[in-house]
Subunit: 207 residues, 2 copies
Amino acid sequence: MSSITFIGAGNMARTIGTRAVAGGNTVEIMARDQSKADDLAAALGGGTTAGRWGAVPTGDIVIAALLYDGVVSTVAEYGDALAGKIIVDISNPFNVTFDGLAHEEPTSIAQEVAKIAPAGASVFKAFNTNFRGVLEQGRPDVFIAGDDTSAKANLAAFVESLGLRPLDVGGLKMSHWLEGMGVVTVGLAGNGIGHGNFALGVDEIAA
Amino acid sequence: MSSITFIGAGNMARTIGTRAVAGGNTVEIMARDQSKADDLAAALGGGTTAGRWGAVPTGDIVIAALLYDGVVSTVAEYGDALAGKIIVDISNPFNVTFDGLAHEEPTSIAQEVAKIAPAGASVFKAFNTNFRGVLEQGRPDVFIAGDDTSAKANLAAFVESLGLRPLDVGGLKMSHWLEGMGVVTVGLAGNGIGHGNFALGVDEIAA
């Protein structure tokens, strides 16, 4: 099992955190508003602790469960406190019309995080195509992008502990296309596909 | 049923064309090398005809079954012969390292086609995440992007006639992200997912 710290105490931290506790992982919650971290830790139970904002996380895997426009600045604020950590960006930087990204360049929040992450940290994109309502109910595929092979194996093991299927799409550069798949998911939902209750996934074809 | 013209007589024209004939559609093949059009039309059977390169297609739906770098120039070469047609770009403009697109800008081959398409033509992106080997065997989801709602319904009906499931991801701008999903598909295949025998699709979650 893994040790996980969520930076952020919102809906995604609650949803993934619930699965993480059920999967036997050690969970810590951090939030800028300490009372929110305390409340979510108590709600999750199973030994979940509340950390102090900006301190060194107890988790080896740190999930930035934040709105996209706060991810880079928060990782910068944590600075060396994240040295050596597996940092997971789960954000969707949608533009205002939800048909593109907030950045026009072929980058991603995860790649921007990697540019400012401390020494020894490994940055990944994951979970951004797994919208909350589906994560609560289903067993969707979790697409993962990142460069560090051994850290990626650790992250994949954590995803499996959640009862989900990790799928390695390649290096961190692929994060841009995973963010695009988030846009596609919103587009499909807007057209009524699956009554909005679906996830993009891999359909294997029987030989 | 629909009337379909393939511009191009390669593997994708053969694969989609085989399904199109089986689905009762009227099929025409055009190729710059007339003998290739003649050969494929004969091989597909079911009344498939070979058209003359550059002539007005008999099909209401025209599938550009070409390598990505020939799509825009071919549509330009056809010019007004494609007036009023549904033009479908199925290409994958991969970069040389297969982790991005040949164009760095947030555009797509389909959007570039739309810029030079003749009056009344409706341009769509579709089929680019459905690699040939999978199309031959499975019943994968076909993602469709385009702006013209009534033409999109016609294209969706054609996709259904192939025994496939059309999924509307939104307007033509979404073609950029569908091209990115082609990149993701290659990335997953490179990591051994499904022994390369899979398609991205939508997994609906039971309520």
